[in-house]
């Protein structure tokens, strides 16, 4: 968008100034409008790149593409209950330490200090903590508290990075983590429409980070290990998400670039 308007025709600085003043005063979107439009468009963008591509799933044997639903053993259930109880205890002990509040960081530190050492119990506790952060972000968004949304999302992102880079997890926990992060991604994407404007950039960052974490976990999952892909397919490629947009990305009426208008 270059400016070659004043080098042609009988235009004047004064007319250009008036037209610009008119555009600025009466044609420019206000900040709220811009934020609303951005949130809705970015929601469509995230939805278009989020799912594992149906086309790719159709082209390869289903077990190689679809995230396998593995049975959750009793050991995992016990660990999850223990983690939830632990988390509930600390949440109760720090009543009032809302995200963004003066006690929030302290509450997170206490939570972390008392995490179980057993890897399975620790992994289950991390899942519960991730869920807690998302719940906090959602509650803060409903209250219109942008600061609290951002504080909860910061804690969420830190936890996502931590859990996604954890090593030595069982396949069962890897799958549970991937499922949980996928669910959180849906929740965060839905929040784009409701969150306060000031929280939108943070929300988009959290979505991107979660998206990358899901990809990372998926790539190192059992489907990517040698021998688990479909015949003739190199290991590590079978479950890779395809980012090609698939069909209309939102409920908006969408036509092709060529078919509308003239």
């Amino acid at each position: 968008m270059t400016d070659d308007r004043t080098t042609e025709g009988p235009t004047t600085d004064e007319l250009a100034r008036r037209l610009e003043a008119y555009a600025r005063a009466r044609l420019s979107p206000d900040a709220a409008t811009s934020a609303r439009m951005r949130a809705r468009v970015m929601r469509a963008v995230h939805r278009s790149v989020e799912p594992v591509a149906p086309a790719a799933a159709a082209a390869a044997p289903p077990p190689a593409i679809v995230v396998p639903i593995r049975p959750r053993g009793p050991r995992y259930a016990i660990a999850l209950v223990a983690a939830l109880l632990t988390l509930g205890l600390f949440a109760g002990a720090a009543v009032g330490a809302r995200p963004g509040g003066p006690l929030y960081e302290a509450r997170l530190a206490v939570e972390e200090a008392f995490l179980p050492t057993d890897p399975d119990a620790r992994a289950a506790a991390d899942l519960a903590r991730l869920q807690a952060r998302v719940d906090e972000a959602r509650a803060a968004a409903e209250d219109g508290d942008a600061g609290a949304v951002l504080a909860a999302l910061d804690a969420f992102q830190e936890l996502v990075d931590e859990t996604a880079s954890a090593t030595g997890l069982s396949d069962e926990h890897e799958a549970a983590l991937e499922d949980a992060l996928g669910h959180h991604l849906d929740v965060l994407t839905d929040l784009l429409a409701d969150a306060p404007d000031a929280a939108l950039p943070g929300l988009e960052r959290a979505i991107e980070r979660s998206d990358r974490a899901v990809e990372r976990i998926h790539e190192r999952g059992p489907d990517s290990k040698p021998g688990n892909g479909p015949p003739g397919e190199p290991p590590g490629q079978s479950g890779k998400p395809d980012h090609t947009p698939q069909g209309p990305p939102s409920g908006l009426p969408v036509g092709s670039a060529e078919d509308s208008g003239d």
């Binding site: 004047t12 004064e14 003043a21 420019s28 979107p29 439009m37 951005r38 209309p248 939102s250 670039a257």
Partner: protein, 189 residues
């Protein structure tokens, strides 16, 4: 946000590869000019908001099929916007008055200045209604959206020279209507 053509093409490539951040940057760069163009055509801010979103969602869908081939991305995007406006007007048979667009205030000016500005802005709005539809469109693309003549020509599906002619006649008419005919010494023709 200022982006040169090379940066825009890079962002387009990244967005086509599925990078949401790149598409977000393209939105940030183009959303205001697209909205300005659309609201100048449909006049009602709520309709302009819906249509602007629609244009970007359409762009997202059509991006895999976009090939530069000398066509600037801005021109391509504004062509989507123009088509969306045409569809909208065609289906709704809607031509609201400029009053709806006048809902915007000028919050950073003092009351006296606001009154003077309002008078001036009303005069501009009135002068614009005197233009032909194509002249209005040329002014909207060139002055409100800030497109180059080449991009405006691409958006309008016309030759660059035709767009320059439309703009020339529109400016002459606006000058007459706004009493700026005596402003010749400032001309940079």
């Amino acid at each position: 946000m200022n982006l040169d053509d090379a940066a825009i093409e890079r962002l387009v490539d990244e967005a086509r590869a599925g990078d949401p951040w790149a598409f977000g940057r393209l939105f940030d760069h183009y959303n205001e000019p697209i909205y300005r163009y659309i609201v100048s055509r449909v006049h009602r801010p709520t309709d302009a908001e819906d249509l602007t979103q629609l244009v970007f969602v359409k762009a997202l869908e059509a991006l895999p099929r976009y090939e530069s081939r000398g066509v600037p991305f801005g021109g391509w995007l504004f062509r989507l916007a123009r088509n969306a406006v045409i569809d909208f007007v065609r289906t709704r048979h809607l031509h609201a008055g400029l009053d709806a667009a006048a809902e915007h205030a000028t919050p950073d000016t003092a009351p006296d200045d606001q009154a003077i500005d309002r008078q001036m802005l009303d005069a501009v709005a009135g002068a614009l209604t005197e233009l032909t539809d194509e002249q209005q469109e040329a002014i909207a693309l060139r002055f409100f959206a800030g497109l180059s003549a080449r991009e405006a020509a691409e958006a309008m599906g016309k030759r660059e020279g035709t767009v320059r002619g439309l703009q020339f006649r529109a400016i002459a008419a606006l000058r007459r209507r706004l009493g700026l005919d005596d402003d010749r010494p400032n001309d940079r023709t």
